[in-house]
Symmetry: C2
Subunit: 223 residues, 2 copies
């Protein structure tokens, strides 16, 4: 069903999807790779190359059919069905995930949160209740769950991940600052500070470009 | 100061950094690319290639010096200084970011949150107070801020981003589901559902690998 595509392309697909959905809302029917490039900070040739991975939907000189392309990307991303999600760890990030309105509109249902803190058990965030973490394995034997968001502290993350995998969950959305490697399980690393570090890297890069060493001009430096 | 490296490498650097910090805590002094690979779901040859981008710190047969490599990556990522951050939008995600303990330990200080909701203005999340969003431009003219986390609704994101850029902020950590393109400003896209979509893609991929069409065997299919 899927071609093998690079991680970098997979990472850009949701951005195309969002951008096309926005264009569709604005009643834009066709768009060129060049116009899309101006909206997205991706070069037009990169856009053409990415979308060609999936068969290519553009016609030279005519641009892309917005609705068709959005629909096709939705299909590729697996967005044409509902996903049942649990959130393990009902701290700040877990609560925010459960509240986050976009989820349900995009086809993600948060069924329950889990935590071991008695002050949190029984509370409701968004539509979902916090259940006792001690009952997680039992819950998974009774409920089919597609995705677990892991928002527990680093030290607990791997054991929680294993518990989820043993309970039949094949997709982990990991916010804990540890790498999780489990055979046959898809893991998306959503560690917030990782993104922040990538940002500070690029900030340094910007400043290095603008502030060359005195007397050296603007040549790119390699040290 | 910086070499130009690909976005994919930049994205893996924080993971190396975290993993090396963990190893250093456990008093591991040297590690081979192969051992690192087992911990990180990155192939050993990819690891060697990534780290060679920055000069290469391994010695064949000896592995990497953990402390030295971690220190060097910290330097590359710009983690050897403090960053002043504001959070624009004090909803669930903004509150979670302000609370998130890792930030201060990694060198990020949240100075203030901004929101236009009178029910939020004056409240404190983590160490930072919610200020009136109407005063953002004035605040930026009086305070030097390195990074703005944007956690406002999609419709407001671009105008907030412009306000921040006009106020001298050069790095935006964007949680709003729109692409922000501003000249001379580094933008890290942290749209949560983007990560979730990449995860469902990979989940579909896993299932496709395991459940080949009847009679077709396990050949990779391209449709």
């Amino acid at each position: 069903m899927h071609r093998k595509v690079s991680d970098a392309v997979i990472r850009r697909l949701p951005r195309y999807y969002r951008q096309l959905a926005l264009l569709e809302e604005e009643d834009v029917r066709k768009i060129s790779s060049l116009a899309l490039s101006g909206l997205m900070n991706i070069t037009a040739s990169q856009i053409r190359q990415d979308l060609n991975c999936f068969g290519g939907f553009g016609q030279q000189g005519y641009g892309y059919n917005v609705a068709e392309l959005r629909h096709h990307i939705a299909h590729i991303l697996g967005l044409t069905r509902q996903y049942r999600m649990i959130v393990v760890g009902a701290g700040n990030i877990g609560q925010a995930l459960s509240h986050y309105a976009n989820f349900t509109s995009e086809g993600y249902d948060v069924l329950a949160l889990f935590d071991t803190d008695p002050a949190l058990i029984g509370r409701t965030f968004g539509q979902a209740e916090v259940l006792d973490g001690a009952g997680l394995a039992e819950y998974l034997s009774a409920h089919e769950v597609d995705i677990a968001a892991i928002t527990v502290p680093a030290g607990a993350a791997l054991s929680v991940a294993k518990l989820c995998a043993d309970g039949g969950i094949r997709a982990l959305w990991n916010f804990a600052p540890v790498d999780i490697v489990l055979p046959g399980v898809a893991v998306e690393n959503a560690q917030l500070t990782d993104g922040l570090m990538a940002l500070t890297y690029r900030l340094c890069d910007l400043k290095a470009e603008e502030e060359p060493d005195e007397g050296q001009g603007t040549d790119t430096k390699v040290e």
